[in-house]
Symmetry: C2
Subunit: 343 residues, 2 copies
């Protein structure tokens, strides 16, 4: 058998990304925009993005920090119960979706919704449904850390039933339960990160504690990873790649109270190629990393081809800009695929 | 109702303690020996304690580092399959027990047993049984981190059945399963740490990641903590306090790969008094912290009385000696009981 030595990814999309702001945006923006065609950008800044002015200003800052050619920042609003139909109608062409955070479940989610009661959420969700604005959800309860996503499943089900025309995206799913739910409701979709295809809680806390692999939702059990990986490898049509790449300064990761987030943007294409090749599923990678999302979100992108070559890539030990320093996943380790060209 | 304002602990015992060596021993030795009457000292140095010479030399270094008056270091050997009856007979009066580590399950356990096959362990265990030497076990498999102790239960059961006269101590138990096993076999006993009575995985990784609460075995689920706490508060006669206080230098806790261990020695008496008082179980604390262990190990100790007073104690942010610095649990926080006198 001839060994595959190059592979092309077309119009890669990262459907769940944190770009932050300020110097951190300047550091991480180019690392995504160089290789990806688009990315769905999370609105959980401080304060969160809840107005048209803030949205457009943030989009402008993103465009300034990023490669402009062939990269589209797909920006989102931070969900609020009191958005009016008029407001949403006015802003709908500027956003790709609205991100809902239950209060307190992750970084900068303090101002998220304090109740997942459907009647409380109904006015905004009905407007979104009518206007065709997708709902992206961080689906975790405030329960025991290993149960939070599983406990959220009945809420996803209620929402899917109550708003059958609303596209609901279960963000960064981490459990077998969530994978099973995908096939149960037509209007439920999901993103999955790269790291949740690769690690379990064992990698975070089974040996030494690894703060750079600590994220929310926390990595789960081996049977969960198996279910996620299996769905990704077969390019389940309702599952999209969303890195949830979440940069935190080094000093906030290696300290008494380490912030949640794994930084994967600059290594995602190489590592995913390695992973899909290892399992003999390279034919499905373009669906997982682009085509599924294009269909789900009706995207129309400029052509962009990333050519990878099977050649060692040593992951930098850190990415730095001014006073910011971010440690990537696999820092200092070797990946067997490198990026050869971007056109 | 009159409020309790002082409380006396008599001959407190820490039946699972890491004192390390060198400057770290000099730092932590006094912190235990000042307030405790005795402590069962773990043998997992580098190299581990496996000879009489190493044992006696370590005991001497411990005695040099510790308060000598009214403190007894109860030293242990590191389990090996090839200890002869003659060797064990010669050393038995010098040790309180032998500690068995499955290889690779925790700090400095690399040279532990590579198989828990009873036939492999039988020669040493038969000699121990005949000589009345207790077996202390770190009971974890190499499985998924949340399942390791539960998966070890059948091994405890096999050992208890195969060696009915051998006292087997399940060290630092963390699960409901282990508590249930205590009542099933006459010759099974257990230690439990203070932190496993207080925290779950939520405290380690439910919010920010807390390296100073990261330990092996890892803190488990809420229902596990409830079972452990309930057994401790009622002073289950087969359950002993063993802090598993495990000092690591600050730089090894707050880094890319954080070592496992919670440092509790200098705060244990105060925090346990606060905990037992809160649950209205102060009457049982002396059993949990001393009398149970005295009976199980047939100890005869000099009288030592620690008088505590209900008065705020601010936990130091660090304990330091020369270049060593150790961060205690609850660093900088306030405990409602302080030590008033030691006699």
């Amino acid at each position: 058998m001839e060994e595959i030595s190059t592979f092309e990814i077309h119009e890669p999309l990262d459907m769940h990304l944190h770009l932050r702001d300020g110097d951190m945006l300047s550091l991480v923006g180019p690392l995504t925009s160089q290789t990806f065609s688009g990315a769905l950008i999370m609105p959980n800044l401080v304060p969160p993005i809840t107005t048209k002015e803030a949205l457009l200003a943030y989009k402008e800052r993103i465009n300034e920090a990023c490669y402009k050619d062939k990269f589209e920042p797909l920006v989102t609003l931070f969900f609020k119960n009191d958005y009016t139909y008029e407001f949403l109608n006015d802003i709908k062409d500027q956003i790709i979706g609205i991100k809902l955070y239950p209060a307190g479940v992750t970084t900068n989610s303090e101002t998220g919704v304090s109740s997942m009661d459907i009647e409380v959420l109904r006015p905004t969700l009905e407007s979104m449904s009518k206007l065709g604005i997708p709902l992206c959800i961080h689906g975790e309860t405030n329960g025991f850390v290993m149960d939070r996503e599983k406990e959220f499943m009945p809420i996803y089900e209620s929402l899917a039933v109550a708003f059958p025309k609303l596209k609901i995206i279960m963000e960064h799913i981490t459990t077998k339960d969530a994978i099973e739910l995908l096939d149960k409701y037509d209007n439920l979709y999901a993103t999955v990160t790269m790291h949740h295809l690769l690690i379990t809680l064992d990698d975070v806390a089974g040996g030494m504690l690894k703060p750079h692999l600590f994220c929310k939702p926390i990595a789960k059990r081996p049977e969960d990873r198996t279910a996620l990986l299996s769905a990704a490898l077969k390019a389940h049509p309702k599952l999209m790649f969303g890195s949830d790449s979440a940069p935190h300064p080094k000093h906030k990761k290696e300290s008494c109270g380490c912030a949640a987030g794994v930084f994967t943007s600059p290594i995602a294409l190489q590592v995913l190629t390695q992973l899909f090749e290892k399992h003999g599923c390279l034919d499905n990678l373009n669906k997982f990393i682009s085509l599924n999302a294009q269909k789900i979100y009706n995207l129309n992108l400029a052509k962009k081809t990333i050519k990878l070559i099977k050649k060692d890539f040593v992951v930098p030990t850190a990415y730095e800009y001014k006073n910011e320093s971010v440690i990537p996943m696999y820092a200092g380790e070797i990946i067997s695929w490198s990026i050869m060209s971007i056109n």
